[in-house]
């Protein structure tokens, strides 16, 4: 190989922060080249995707709306991934959260009391948390790989949702459309900014960021989670209950994803429909990595991911591109990130740079 990887004596903190930025720049460049090859002006195309959607107040409001579910899912993933538990099931947990919230909401349409909305949210949290706990239970008691089980639960959740909107939750007066009845006003999340769709869900998401931040940075349980992730045998030796930690992290992560689902059906959508998420749960995986599993990093990464979703829609309208361009940009971003992350643990030695292996190791601090 013409490039040589030289291990660093110590992981580079600087690189850990630079890598997402570098990945973003590489994605932009590749995206530009890609637009150029498609016969578009690359600068105009990138501007259309990444600036035009948020160039007015309405756009900024929509950014908040789209950030909410992504942020909720990703912040939960931060905590499971820290424990090295690979919950790939945020998507399914979101769907079940939305389903559970809807199941309650359509039964309390007439209720005008103030408890309706919190109850709907709690139903969503409970649904998502239980769905995640199922995978946690299979992992701790039967040693079943959580990557595969959570993925399978995503497909099962999607089919359950589709079954429900065609069956038990279908609006009896809905002309046979696969949709639930519209929720009662008391069940809906209040709108925060007039004339926009910004709803109280964003407050829940920001609150979650703060809570998870404190939990990870300041609490004993956060410390245990981090130790478990870094060295499972050390955690066991220290007497930490690793199975309990798996349950707790999955509970939090599933609950937050469930809340995201409840926030979607009781927020911008207002009813249960077959498609309540364009893959927010999967996008949240990218966001969690991009944000370095740190709550603040994840906040910024969620905004970026929401922007990519909006940019994809804008590119569809303005540039006549397929909507799938969103997924393409997401995948590229994650790939570049993984490649750039190599720089955290390694130095790249080019063949034309001389024999400085030893000195470069000594330079590390």
């Amino acid at each position: 190989m013409f490039l040589k990887l030289v291990p660093r004596a110590e992981h580079s903190r600087k690189m850990a922060y630079l890598s997402p930025l570098l990945a973003g720049v590489l994605t932009l460049i590749t995206g530009g080249v890609f637009f150029y090859l498609q016969g578009h002006d690359p600068f105009f195309a990138l501007k259309t995707m990444l600036y035009t959607p948020i160039s007015d107040t309405y756009g900024l409001a929509e950014l908040c709306v789209k950030t909410t579910p992504i942020l909720l899912c990703a912040i939960g993933l931060a905590i499971v991934f820290k424990a090295q538990v690979w919950n790939i099931g945020a998507e399914g947990q979101l769907l079940i959260g939305g389903l559970a919230a809807s199941a309650l909401a359509v039964n309390i349409i007439e209720v005008e009391a103030a408890w309706a909305m919190p109850a709907v949210m709690l139903a969503g949290i409970a649904g998502g948390a239980l769905w995640a706990l199922l995978a946690a239970w299979l992992k701790t008691h039967f040693n079943a790989n959580e990557i595969l089980t959570t993925i399978m639960f995503n497909y099962i959740a999607l089919n359950l949702l589709i079954f429900s909107v065609h069956g038990p939750l279908k609006d009896p007066d809905g002309y046979n459309f696969p949709e639930s009845a519209m929720f009662g006003d008391a069940s809906l999340l209040p709108i925060l900014v007039e004339d926009t769709r910004v709803h109280a869900g964003i407050l829940f998401a920001l609150l979650a960021v703060v809570i998870i931040w404190v939990l990870l940075a300041r609490s004993f349980i956060g410390f245990q989670i981090k130790v478990l992730g870094l060295d499972a045998s050390a955690a066991r030796l220290a007497g930490f209950k690793d199975k309990k930690l798996v349950w707790i992290t999955m509970l939090i992560s599933g609950g937050l994803a469930g809340l995201a689902g409840a926030g979607e059906v009781a927020g911008p959508i207002g009813q249960l429909v077959p498609q309540i998420s364009p893959g927010y749960g999967y996008a949240a995986i990218i966001v969690a990595f991009l944000g370095r599993l740190h709550p603040v990093g994840i906040l910024f990464a969620s905004l970026l991911m929401a922007l990519i979703y909006m940019g994809g829609e804008m590119a569809q309208i303005e540039l006549n591109m397929p909507l799938a361009i969103t997924g393409l940009f997401q995948g590229m971003l994650l790939f570049y990130l993984l490649a750039c992350d190599v720089l955290i643990g390694y130095k790249i030695k080019f063949p034309w740079s001389g024999m400085d292996t030893v000195t470069s190791r000594a330079e590390q601090h």
């Binding site: 595969l148 397929p322 799938a324 393409l328 790939f335």
Partner: protein
């Protein structure tokens, strides 16, 4: 239940199990060399879309399958570059490959959704296909099904009797020892990943060129993931992959069985069955930790640095 129904169910079981068999065989070879590639779904989708577009443009199914394989190999090398070349985390890289492949295939294929093509024809072998019940199932299939039988035989032989098969296993069990006796660890792993990619591409092509035959976004619907579970179910043994693939094939067509028997169950609920079966199988196989550890390649998923 009459004979015709059983005959047709068995026939459909093989057809449905074939893409699973092909991907799972490829992934097993890859895992035997110590590399866990979770990108099967992404590679399959790329194979499906590349094969479909190539056939749509040229009208040539053979060329379509070739392009499906090429697409699978290219995708697998993207994984290999990052996971093997740059020593990145294999789980994260595999996930990235699936997310990227899902996005890229949807993008490339967006202009081709709903286009019809002439799918792969069934070739009935004279006399043999006339055998009651099993004749149609084994001898009235298309070329790729027959090819999958051959691939199964070759891989079975490869790990049982060939020297190269032994090298692949050595590299997956103990890369350091393999390296010490001069076996090419990295080259073996790159090739194993490429083989896995070719098989995933072929399986994807089978879906879009023979099984359906059409292109739709996300048309693999989790088959790549089911194949990963299948390898665990099979405890990394070739003959059990065959068994597992057809069992899952059967689980996926249970709605046909239900219809045949006159049950009225929601198709959406029946659509969950293969996924539920996968979870159950994983639970059954993983319950005994010692046993599952015994069969898994010891160095599965661990990066290898020569000289450490």
């Amino acid at each position: 239940m009459d004979i015709d129904l059983i005959t047709n169910i068995l026939y459909a079981m093989i057809r449905t199990g074939t893409p699973l068999l092909i991907v799972a065989l490829g992934e097993m070879v890859c895992e035997k060399s110590g590399v866990l590639n979770l990108g099967q779904e992404g590679m399959m989708l790329m194979g499906a879309v590349a094969g479909f577009i190539a056939t749509w443009l040229t009208g040539n199914l053979f060329f379509g399958f070739l392009m499906a394989i090429v697409a699978g190999v290219l995708m697998s090398q993207l994984f290999a570059m990052i996971a093997l070349g740059l020593n990145a985390n294999q789980v994260a890289t595999g996930l990235a490959l699936t997310i990227f492949g899902t996005g890229l295939s949807a993008f490339i294929g967006s202009g081709f959704v709903g286009n019809p093509i002439e799918g792969l024809d069934v070739i009935a072998i004279p006399f043999l296909s006339e055998i009651p019940v099993i004749g149609k199932m084994l001898f009235a299939q298309d070329l790729i099904v027959y090819l999958s039988f051959v691939l199964f035989g070759v891989i079975f032989w490869f790990f049982r009797s060939s020297r190269t098969g032994l090298i692949v296993k050595a590299v997956g069990e103990n890369p350091h020892a393999a390296n010490a006796i001069g076996l090419p660890v990295m080259r073996t792993r790159y090739l194993a990943v490429a083989f896995g990619g070719a098989m995933a591409g072929l399986a994807g092509g089978y879906l879009s060129l023979a099984y359906t035959p059409l292109w739709a976004e996300n048309m693999t619907s989790g088959r790549g993931w089911i194949a990963l579970a299948l390898v665990v179910f099979a405890s990394w043994r070739t003959e059990r992959i065959l068994l597992g693939a057809y069992l899952f094939g059967l689980a996926s067509i249970l709605h046909l069985v239900a219809q045949g028997l006159g049950f009225a169950v929601s198709p959406n609920l029946l659509a969950m069955l293969p996924y539920i079966a996968t979870v159950l199988v994983l639970v059954m196989m993983s319950r005994n930790q010692g046993q599952s550890k015994m069969y898994a390649p010891i160095s599965l998923g661990k990066p290898f640095h020569a000289g450490t």
